[in-house]
Amino acid sequence: MTSIGLPHFLIVGAVLFALGMVTVVTRRNAVGILMGVELILNAANVNFIAFNHYVEGPGKITGQVFSIFVIVLAAAEAAIGLAIVLAIYQTFRTIDVQETDLLRE
C-alpha cells in the first residue's frame, strides 16, 4: 500500500501557491506576473483534484469538472493578459509595472 495521502498533495499545492504568490508580488516584468498567476491557478487545481480523489470518493468527479473550468478560465486569462501586456508595450515601450502607471498615453 502506498503511504502517500491527501496532506502530501495539499502541501505540494501550498508550496506551488506560495511560489506563485512570490512571483506575483516581487516581479516587475508583467509577463512574469502572469506566470505567477498561472502557478497559483495550478495550485488551486491540484487541491481540487486531490480533494476529488481522496474526499469525494469513487464515481464522483465534481472536483475534476471544476479543474477543467479553471483550466479554461486560465487559458482565457492568459490570452487577455498577454494581449494587454502587448498593448502596454506598444504604448509605453516597456512592460515594467513600476513604470507603467498611467492610464493614458
Binding site: 501550498a14 502572469l34 506566470m35 505567477g36 481522496y54 474526499v55 487559458a75 501586456v85 502587448l86
Partner: protein
Amino acid sequence: MPEVPSHLRAVLVRLGVLAAGLAGIVGVAVLNRFAHLGLAPTLLLEYVAVTCVIWGLNGFLFRTVPLSGLSLLVFSAAAFGVLFLVAYFVGAIVAPLLFDAAGQFIGLVHLTDFLFYAFALMTIAGAAGCAFSRNIIYSAWALLFAFLGVAGLYVFLGADFPAVAQVLIYVGGILVLILFAIMLTKQIGGDPSLTNAHLGLPIGAALAAATVGTLAYMAVMTPWKEAPSRSYEPVSAALGTAFLTDFLLPFEVASVVLLAALVGAVIIARKEIKEQSDAVLE
C-alpha cells in the same frame, strides 16, 4: 615558502588524503562508541572529523582556492551541514520507505512513493525556478517543468483527462503564448538581470514562508473525512456526461467566456492597426 618538488608534493597530498580518510573512519568509530555522550559532543566530534577530511583534501581538490585558518573552518561547517542534511534525509525519510515495521528490506514496493516525490520535486523546483530566476526566458522554461510535474500529479490522483488537458492547454498553449509575449516585448540579448528584476524579495520570501507554514499546518492537522475507497478508472466519459447534464449552464457560459476572450484579445492586441485605419479615415 620554498618550492616543493612536484612528485614529493603528490606523495604528500596522497598521504594527507589517507590521513583524512583515517580521521574520518576513526571519527565515525568514535561516534558509535561514544553515542551516549549526548547531542552537542557528538555534533562537535562529527564537525572535527569533517574538518580533518576537508583539511586532508585541501590542496588536492581545492588547489585553486587554498583553504586555511578561518576559511577552512567555515567551509568545513558548510560541508558538515550538507552532510548532516543528507544523513538526516537518508535516516529519517528514505530508510522508513525501504524497511517495513519489522525491519525487513522491502525495496521497491514504495516505487510509487518515489515517483510521487519525483513529480512533486519537479513541480516545486520548476515553480521555484520560475519565481527566482533572473532571466525571464529561464523562468518560462522552469514553468514548463512545473506544468509537466502537475500533470504527473494529476495522473497519481486518477485524473487522466485533466492531466492530458494540462499538457495540451498549459504546455502547448499558455506556455507558447507566454514565450511569444516574452519574445515580442523584450530585446533579447540585453542584461538578463534587468529582464526579470525582483522587488522586495526578502518580504516576498517571508510572505511565502508564512503562507506555506499556515497551509501546511492546516493540511496536516485537519482531520479530513477521507472516502473509504479510491478509484483509478478512466474519467472522460463521466466528465462528458457531467458537462452535458449537471454542469450544462457553466459549460455554456465557459464557451461564451472563451469567445469573448478571443475577440477581446484580438481587439486589444491589434490596437496600432486600428489607429492606423482611423488615421486613414481622417
